[in-house]
């Protein structure tokens, strides 16, 4: 039963991804071509609201539904890891026009070929895990 709320939040997320048009390949290509403010407006608003909300959560030590104080785990500092990994993801994002959230939302739209991307992204994650020790972190 504790999972139902995650399912409901996921439904809202799928609707938001769709209505924001962030799931659209065209919107992502337009963003990288700097030909529209749309996606920058979405991400910018989300980050500004996110920064304010996150600061408040920390300030008032807000608790989650289980009664645990919400905490944020800082990521280990590294430049090559985030930069190289980020660049590789960016290449795939611009190609497919979808980051992981929209991948699943588009599956719900009934776009069958998106499963090709989903399955190969799982394979890509496996390849990272397999070669992890050989990569700079």
């Amino acid at each position: 039963m504790k999972y139902i709320k995650f399912f409901l939040i996921g439904i809202i997320f799928g609707i938001v991804m769709t209505k924001s048009e962030a799931v659209s390949w065209f919107r992502i290509y337009e963003m990288f071509r700097f030909e529209s403010f749309h996606m920058y407006g979405i991400i910018g608003t989300a980050v500004v609201v996110g920064i304010i909300g996150t600061a408040i959560i920390k300030k008032v030590h807000l608790k989650d539904v289980t009664g645990k104080v919400i905490s944020f785990n800082p990521k280990n500092m590294s430049v090559p890891r985030y930069l190289i990994g980020g660049i590789i993801f960016g290449l795939g994002w611009a190609m497919t026009g979808a980051c992981p959230g929209p991948l699943f939302t588009l599956a719900g739209h009934g776009i069958a070929a998106i499963w090709v991307v989903i399955i190969s992204s799982v394979v890509g994650t496996y390849l990272y895990g397999y070669f992890r020790d050989k990569l700079p972190h």
Partner: protein, 194 residues
Amino acid sequence: MNQLIDLISQPWHWSISGFMIAMIMFLLLWAGGEFGVSANLRTMCSIGGAGKSADFFNFNWKSQIWNLVFIAGAIAGGFIASQYLASDDPVQVSQSTVQFLESKGIHPPETMAEGAGFVPNEIYNSWTWSSFIFLIVGGLLIGFGTRYGGGCTSGHAISGLSNLQLPSLIAVIGFFIGGLAMAWGILPSLLTLF
């Protein structure tokens, strides 16, 4: 109720969309989770038995079930939005993007916004070898890059930047270096293949 559905069915202003994405992040934190979709790809590897050949996948994936449920919800949400909340207008892409795509033989969205109108048919609905390989390569880059970089748009660009984390800023800079290189350097020639 019908008025509410009509209201939601219009394409949303970017400020509403951005605000709602931040709300999703807060709801997940409140529910005891966090906003990071690409972590699910690792969980799926673990469930599939990838831990036998790569230690990275030996972790307690059961602690991540909530996140799988979340993306199952996203699939359901995508279905609901495309079936019941679709707008009549196609995605309003800028005219310069439309002209550029037409010059490459890619048809801009001209049908309803949801469903097929969100993605180019040449890539997502043609089932040619070139589109198939294109999608496979794109997926591999997404899966490899997100785990190497420790997150995707939700984990780094939204959650990480909201928490003012420097690693997330570096990752987002990487997203754009890669995305711009693809959009300006590689895609213009690839798009003519379809």
